[in-house]
Structure formats: C-alpha cells, structure tokens
C-alpha cells in the first residue's frame, strides 16, 4: 500500500475530494496547515507597521490506497488541484508497511 501526502490550496479541497471519491477512494485525512515552497509569503501592514507573512495556509491530504491505485490518485490530485500558479502544492508517495481496520480487524488491502 502507499501513503499519498498532498499539500494543496485550500479552495481546491472540495474539488479534489469529489474527484477522488469518483475514482473510488473511500477515505482520507485532512489537516489545515501553513507552509511555504517556492511561493514566498507576502507583506502585511498592521497599524502602520509592515511585517512579513512567511507561511501561507494550505491543506494537507493523507490517503492510504492499495499499490494499484496509487498512480491514479496522484494523477487525479495533480490535475484537479492545479491552478497554473505558484503555490499549487506538492504530492509525495510513501510506502506503508501495514494497515488495520479498527472495527473488523481486517488487514492491509482489505483495510484500505
């Protein structure tokens, strides 16, 4: 199985979720994060004083799928989350050693 970690723009979350459920993904974890990549932050002004905002809000998706699905998931996320502007995000794929479904005790491919 593979763990797919994707950082994407928050306003793309709904679209990505929908696209993934359409291809058969049945679960995902979502965290709101702040980060930066090549998209640098920007400056803000508070009561006349300028300050740098280095971190930009993003959303992190973590999805575990069977090996066969991984490429399709990555492709779907990349195509749906992209806006052709910097700050679109990154996707990483990791190996997962094992998985267990808490309710039934099923393991590995039966658990994802």
């Amino acid at each position: 199985m593979k763990l797919i970690i994707a950082a994407i723009k928050p306003f793309k979350l709904e679209e990505v979720r929908e696209a993934l459920t359409t291809i058969g993904v049945r679960g995902m974890m979502v965290t709101e994060i702040k980060g930066f990549g090549s998209q640098s932050g920007h400056t803000e002004i508070y009561r006349g004083a300028e300050y740098a905002v280095n971190f930009v809000p993003k959303v992190k998706l973590e999805i575990v799928v069977s090996d066969g699905m991984a490429d399709q998931v990555v492709e779907t996320i990349q195509k749906t989350a992209k806006t052709d502007k910097i700050g679109d995000g990154k996707i990483f794929v990791l190996d997962v050693e094992s998985a267990v479904r808490v309710r039934t005790g099923e393991t590995n491919d039966d658990a994802v």
Binding site: F11, I33, Y46, K60
Partner: protein, 444 residues
C-alpha cells in the same frame, strides 16, 4: 381604632391635605412647557444612545454568526456603516425625512438640506417647547437610520467586497431610508392615509430586510452553501458573542420603542413609555420561548441561534405598536414573531437565498407581521385598519426593494460585488483586509 385619637388625626390630615385640595385646579394641570421640553429631550437623548448601543449588538451578533475567517470584515462593515449613516443623515437624510419644504408634497423632501443644531445656550423663548431640541431629535432619528443599514450587513456576509457594500450604505442612509420614512414620520402621504408604524416594524425593519433581500438575490449564495439539492450549514465562530449581541440589541430596543413615544413631559406620556418598555420586553421573551419550543419540537434539539433570532423577531414584531397592547397580547405578538423566524429560515434556504445571520426572517418577515398585528388593537389611536397597514407595507417594501435592486445591479456592473472564489474560501479577513480576527488561533 380609638375614636378619641381619630378626631385629632383627622384634623392633622385635613390640614395636610388642605393646600393641595385648595389648589386642586393647578395640581392637575400639565407641568410647565419648559419641563415638558426638558423631559422629552431627555427621552430622545437616552433613547438615542440606547439605539446607538444596538450597533454594538449587531456587530457582536454578526461577528459571532460568521466563521472566524470573516470576523474582521464583518466588524469593519458594522463600524463603517454606522459612521457613514451618521454623516449621510446629517448631510442629506434628516432633511429629506423631515422636510421644511417638500420637493413633491408628501412624497419627496429636499435634497442636501444639511442639518444644523440650535445655537449654544438657547433660551426658553427660542426653543420649540412643545417638542424637544433639534439636536436630540436629530441624534435620536439618526440611530434609526443606522439600524436600517446594519440589517443589510448580516445577510450579505462572507462573500461581499467591503467598498461596494459601503457605497450601498451611502445611498440607503442618505436617500432610500429617509425618503420612505418621510412618507410616515415626516408627515407624508402614508401618515395622511392613516398608516400606523409606531417605531418602525416596516419603516426600519422590513425596509432593511427588503434591501438585504435585494442584495442577497443579486449577490448569490456563498460557495458551497447549496450543493446537490442539500443545504450545507456553515456554523458561526462564536455563539457567546452572538448571544451577547442579542442581549445588547434587546437592551437597545427599549430606547428604540420607548423613545418613539416622542414625548415624556406628562404623566400620561411617561406612563406610556413604561408600558412600552414592559411590552417590548415581553415580546422579546415570548419570541425566544416560542423559538425554544418550536426548535425542540421540529429538530429534537433546541437551536440557540434560532432562540436568539426568535427574541429579536419578537422585538421586531412589537415595534409597530408597543404601546397599545396588553402584556398578554404583547406575548402573543412576540411569540408569533418567534415562530415566523423558525419557519422562514429554512424557507429562504429552499429558495437558495443565502442569509448568513437570518436578518431577512427576523426583520423582513417579522416586520411585516408586526405591522399587520397593529390591527389587533387598532393602534394607540384605535384607528388603524388592515387595508391601510397593507398599503403601507407594500408601498414601502416595493420602493426599498426596487431602488435597492437597482443600486446593487449598478454596483455589480461597475465595481463587482463578490470577492474571488479563492478569496472567499481563504476568508475575507486575510484576502480583503490582511488582518485576522483571531491570529493566535492559527490553523495547523
């Protein structure tokens, strides 16, 4: 009692009463005109700052019912709209609403009749002793104008740009509200027709609601609010603030309705003001309880936000006639307002009209009900009729809705009304204002 004591007691009593009995004629006449002027002016000043405090109520209520990422924007809109209303009312609104000379008799007052106050240190000989000071009258009425504008900001929250909204407020507070209010309180054609709206269920609340409705239709719902035939709730960020805001509005309403007696210089008037306070409070309480019970029945759980809206709807409902009803009738009127809110909130969602705080149910629908409810007592004159009440409601709502619609459409074409999709999802606070309301509560 010992009869021996009775006689001396009676003598003392008579002696004590004799002066007032002897001057019985004077004791029952009204106080001096100066006293009346002073008390009525005082009523306007106190009522005025109580209605001012409603601006804080709206700000807290709305801040609590929007999501955290939009709170700074909502607060900015609230303080800005109040301040704009104050300036526009001075510049043009007060003059249109209370014309010295009508442009079109009974329909349209003069434009840019700028308000000026009486000179300092005015003497009794120069004051309008049969009423109140110009300053207090202006101050009091200005607050009502600002209230009308603040009704609009709640409905349109979370997706509207700041400046187009404020331009709309300029037009609403300078022209739309003063024109329609002049028809009744300025002595215009509606008051001649016998329309009855004591403190503004239609003039302020239904009118504000109509402007909000027009805006909501042109603006469209928030992204993701209505999906696949379902309504997606977007819960507010701070129900403590929302509740505080509601209590603040409730307090302010005593000034809103009580001050609308427009006189406090006689026994009758001040007693009327006390009736108004008591009835107003009763209606709010009844609206809250009605919503409490109905949400429990309909949803199996009480919905705090509906209870808050219910109290406000009760207040709006009694506003058209807070003097005449009995406490019991005030309870009924307020309770029905509360029921109306619980029913019309989901109704708006069915029509895909996204009203973030429920301002249209509270002010528009309950405002119409409150104005119709006047016929239950006939108003404090006893002369209100259903036909004329309907005439007033329809004409004012039609005027405000149509003029507002035109302004919204023009603003949409010229400036655009909505922020971009990305800005809306990221939140107006960071996108439009670069200032989060809760910067310490970071995401992740």
């Amino acid at each position: 009692m010992n009869t021996k004591l009775l006689l001396p007691l009676a003598a003392v009593a008579t002696a004590a009463l004799a002066p007032s009995m002897g001057f019985a004629q004077e004791a029952s006449t009204a106080p001096a005109a100066e006293t009346s002027y002073i008390f009525t002016t005082l009523l306007f000043l106190i009522g005025g700052f109580l209605v001012f405090w409603m601006a804080a109520g709206f700000a807290m209520l709305e801040a609590g019912l929007v999501r955290s990422k939009n709170v700074t924007m909502q607060l900015t809109k609230n303080i800005a709209l109040f301040s704009i209303a104050a300036i526009m009312y001075w510049l043009v609104g007060f003059g249109i609403m209370y014309p010295g000379e009508w442009l079109i008799e009974g329909w349209l007052g003069p434009f840019f009749a700028v308000t000026s106050l009486e000179p300092m240190g005015i003497g009794a000989a120069d004051a309008t002793l049969d009423y109140a000071s110009v300053g207090s009258d202006f101050f009091f009425q200005l607050m009502f104008c600002a209230t009308t504008a603040s009704i609009v900001s709640g409905t349109l929250a979370e997706r509207m740009k700041l400046w187009p909204f404020l331009v709309f407020v300029v037009v609403l507070t300078g022209f739309i509200y003063p024109i329609e209010a002049s028809w009744q309180w300025g002595g215009g054609w509606l008051s001649e027709a016998g329309f009855h709206d004591f403190a503004g269920s239609t003039l302020v609340h239904a009118a504000g609601g109509a402007a909000a409705l027009a805006g909501a239709i042109i603006l469209g719902p928030r992204i993701g609010k209505y999906k696949d035939g379902k309504v997606v709730p977007m819960p507010g960020s701070n129900l403590a603030l929302a509740t505080l805001g509601t209590f603040i509005l409730w307090l302010g309403w005593f000034g809103f309705n009580g001050g609308s007696q427009l006189a406090m210089g006689t026994v009758g008037d001040v007693t009327d003001v006390s009736r108004i306070f008591a009835n107003t409070n009763m209606a709010a309480a009844a609206g809250a309880v009605a919503a409490l019970i109905l949400t429990q029945i309909l949803y199996g759980k009480v919905d705090l936000t509906m209870v808050l809206n219910g109290a406000l709807a009760g207040l709006v409902s009694i506003t058209a006639e807070p003097l005449a009803p009995s406490l019991f009738l005030s309870l009924i009127i307020g309770a029905i307002g509360g029921l109306i809110v619980v029913v019309t909130v989901p109704l708006l969602d069915k029509l895909k009209i996204d009203d973030v705080v429920g301002a249209i149910p509270v002010h528009f629908f309950a405002g119409i009900w409150g104005t119709l409810a006047v016929v239950l007592t006939g108003g404090y004159t006893g002369e209100a009729t259903l036909v004329v009440q309907i005439l007033g409601i329809v004409s004012i709502i039609a005027f405000v809705f149509v003029t507002s619609l035109i302004v919204w459409v023009i603003l949409k074409a010229v400036m655009g009304l909505r922020v971009s999709a990305e800005a809306e999802v990221n939140g107006l606070d960071v996108s439009e204002l670069g200032m989060e309301a809760y910067p310490d509560f970071t995401k992740g």
